[in-house]
């Protein structure tokens, strides 16, 4: 059984025979997205047919709930990576938002509605600090956000120590896992989809979105075309922080627990999903559809293999292999094709 579903992994490989063509088309719009979407469909079908309990409503519910944090954070992360920057502090911002929510609920006596608003605002402030360091002082975002990764995680331990706040009202904790009546789709998917649509429209259908690609390709050129690079990047980091605040609230309520170590290590999974979705780490290339498909692909694979009794920790092999394969295979295939092409050209000349 376990082995059967281990073979559910190769769908990316299965999609690869076409990859020669796809690699050469990769510069054209959406080709990598298509590969990921096809891989996703294949994995879902295979898992549905071979893995027990995969195709059940209850599993769908848990799968989607598990994916929420990843999917939400991937939205602003996509935009940030497209501009050529990166935000590694996201998981720590989720953790700090979560402990702040716990501490406020424990000691402030404010209503939970107000606390939630405050937490999102606070997330935005955390993001603004990142943005200030990157755009105001002109520091590399990779180094800055490694710094704030440690800083925010440290502060989240300062806020609550090693204790946990768990006595959130039951109607709130039940609300975040409730399904849309008559389906097995959680209600929280609706705001996710709304946000995804907003991000997709901004990225793909507005001048501001085009400007993000321009920045990723060439900061200076973008500046000369009248794009205010620094201000745009600053606001992207703010948005990233605010979304992390939202995720902090969701995380806290879903597990009914505000703890300093919530979401530890999530940043690398988010980056993996974004890169798997076809966004170039150099910036300037990528689409939101591919990223969402990448998030789903990661989630479905993990879920199916877990149902098939593969050790959750060993599953990281799949995550890592997918990431490496998604960047190595297209290039390797393109190389081979180029070499064959050259040889074919040389032969007629020789004869």
């Amino acid at each position: 059984m376990a082995h059967d579903s281990l073979y559910a992994a190769p769908p990316t490989a299965e999609a690869e025979p076409g990859a020669g063509r796809i690699a050469s088309l990769r510069g054209l719009l959406g080709s990598w997205d298509a590969v990921i979407v096809v891989a996703l469909v294949v994995v879902v079908l295979l898992a549905g047919l071979t893995v027990e309990n995969f195709a059940t409503g209850r599993n769908a519910q848990f799968l989607l709930l598990d994916l929420m944090p990843l999917a939400l954070i991937a939205l602003p992360m996509t935009l940030i990576v497209i501009t050529g920057e990166i935000d590694l502090s996201v998981a720590s911002m989720v953790g700090l938002s979560s402990t702040l929510m716990g501490q406020l609920w424990l000691s402030s006596g404010l209503s939970l509605e107000l606390i939630c608003v405050l937490v999102v605002l606070l997330g935005a402030v955390l993001g603004a600090v990142n943005g200030l360091f990157v755009t105001g002082f002109g520091l590399p975002s990779l180094a800055v956000t490694i710094g704030t990764l440690a800083l925010y995680r440290g502060l989240s331990f300062v806020v609550l120590g090693d204790q946990a706040v768990a006595d959130f009202p039951a109607d709130w904790t039940a609300a975040v896992v409730r399904n849309i009546p008559g389906t097995s789709v959680p209600v929280v998917v609706v705001p996710l989809l709304l946000l995804a649509v907003v991000f997709a429209v901004v990225l793909h259908a507005t001048p501001a979105g085009r400007a993000l690609y321009a920045m990723g390709n060439n900061d200076q050129a973008a500046t000369f075309t009248g794009v205010s690079v620094a201000r745009t990047k600053f606001w992207l980091f703010v948005v990233s922080g605010a979304v992390c605040g939202l995720v902090g609230i969701f995380w806290t309520l879903r597990y009914a627990s505000a703890r300093g170590d919530n979401a530890t290590g999530l940043e690398l999974t988010v980056v993996t999903a974004v890169l798997l979705g076809g966004v170039s780490i150099f910036g300037g290339r990528g689409a939101l559809v591919g990223v969402l498909a990448g998030v789903l692909l990661l989630g479905v694979l993990r879920n199916a293999l877990q149902l098939a009794d593969v050790d959750a920790n060993a599953l990281t092999i799949v995550t890592g292999t997918l990431l490496v394969a998604s960047v190595v295979l297209p290039n390797a295939v393109a190389d081979v094709r180029a070499r064959l092409h050259r040889r074919r050209q040389r032969q007629p000349a020789a004869s």
Binding site: L139, I146, G147, L155, V158, I317, T321, V327, V328
Partner: protein, 353 residues
């Protein structure tokens, strides 16, 4: 300090190509010295303040614990420096350390009579093999090392978990001679720290005085220019990852010797701490500058902060936050210094013209 002519071609690649070499070098040298000096001063102040509050902080046992605690981070930070100098990064070192540590334990369980030097050789070889995987993939894919090593971070860790499948290796499974290495001291200095010192000295000397070492800086400053000036960039970068893997392997064996009890989670999350140590130590994250000595001092500083917070009775939960603030301060300072140097050079060349 005498320099051979062989080094000269690379000097210009390391810095802006306009200035006459000698004066520039003096300036850069001074700045580097300042960075290491400022780290030493920060470290000295930290130790002084802590000792004033509690004089047992400088007692033999406490210093020994400190040196023991930083040895592994120092080795990893030095390995990372070699990588970062070439404008790459190796995020898989924590996973390599974990894998090698577990492999070392397993070796002693399945072949109890193995002499410990064999374990060292095999551990370093396994680490180097992981480095070959990293380097090879980077060469084939021609994508940033960040992406590849993020992937292999997961893969190596996953292999570790898959192999361990929940088992744990205890100190009792390992020979005494091996475990003693982890805690033994020579004239009061832990053997582990001596190993780290040797690594720092060797890598520091290599980066500073060997032609291929200088070429690494050239690659990090401007890969395209390095390629045009005839440096075999691909081969150097590949070698750098093998070296980083081998050092992570060495750190893994030392980890096994020091802690004795091993599971598949050893070294999880260490990679960011290692990068942090290098950055605090003045290694520029986008390559081209920094030294192994600085990175080693950065690692010592980070470790010392941890133990002095405990002595100062500051909530240990503050430790990570302080480390984060320190990273931000370090890169902010670097930026400031770079801007001032640039301004001064502009002024000078204006005079010259």
């Amino acid at each position: 300090m005498s320099r051979t002519g062989a080094v000269a071609p690379d000097q210009t690649a390391e810095h802006a190509p306009t200035d006459p070499g000698q004066q520039r070098r003096g300036l850069t040298e001074r700045l580097l010295a300042v960075r290491e000096l400022s780290l030493l001063i920060a470290l000295g102040l930290l130790v002084l303040v802590t000792t004033l509050r509690n004089d047992r902080f400088l007692s033999g046992q406490s210093v020994k614990d400190l040196l023991l605690g930083c040895a592994i981070l120092v080795i990893l930070a030095v390995g990372q420096t070699v990588v970062i100098v070439t404008r790459n990064v190796d995020l898989s070192v924590g996973s390599i350390l974990g894998l090698v540590a577990f492999a070392t334990g397993t070796l002693f369980v399945s072949a109890p009579g193995t002499p410990w030097p064999v374990a060292f050789v095999l551990g370093v070889a396994l680490g180097a093999l992981c480095g070959v995987v990293n380097g090879g993939l980077i060469a084939v894919a021609r994508v940033p090392a960040l992406v590849i090593t993020l992937g292999t971070l997961y893969v190596f860790r996953g292999v570790d978990y898959y192999w361990a499948s929940g088992r744990q290796i205890n100190a009792a499974d390992m020979p005494q001679s091996f475990l003693r290495l982890g805690n033994q001291t020579v004239f009061g200095v832990p053997v582990l720290f001596l190993v780290a010192l040797v690594v720092v000295a060797a890598v520091g000397f290599y980066l500073r005085s060997y032609r291929s070492g200088r070429e690494l800086y050239a690659i990090g400053s401007e890969p395209a220019a390095a390629r045009l000036s005839g440096i075999p960039v691909g081969r150097r970068v590949f070698a750098v990852f093998v070296a980083s893997g081998a050092l992570a392997g060495l750190a893994g064996v030392l980890y096994a010797a020091r802690f004795g009890t091993l599971d598949a989670a050893a070294g999880t999350g260490l990679e960011l701490q290692v990068v942090a140590a290098a950055v605090v130590g003045g290694v520029a994250i986008f390559g081209g500058s920094g030294s192994a000595y600085g990175a080693a001092l950065g690692a010592v500083l980070l470790t010392t902060i941890g133990s002095s917070l405990a002595v100062l009775r500051i909530d240990p939960f503050w430790q990570q936050a302080v480390v984060g603030a320190l990273i931000l301060a370090a890169i902010g300072l670097d930026r400031l210094v770079a801007l001032r140097v640039a301004a001064r050079l502009r002024g000078r060349s204006a005079h010259g013209a």
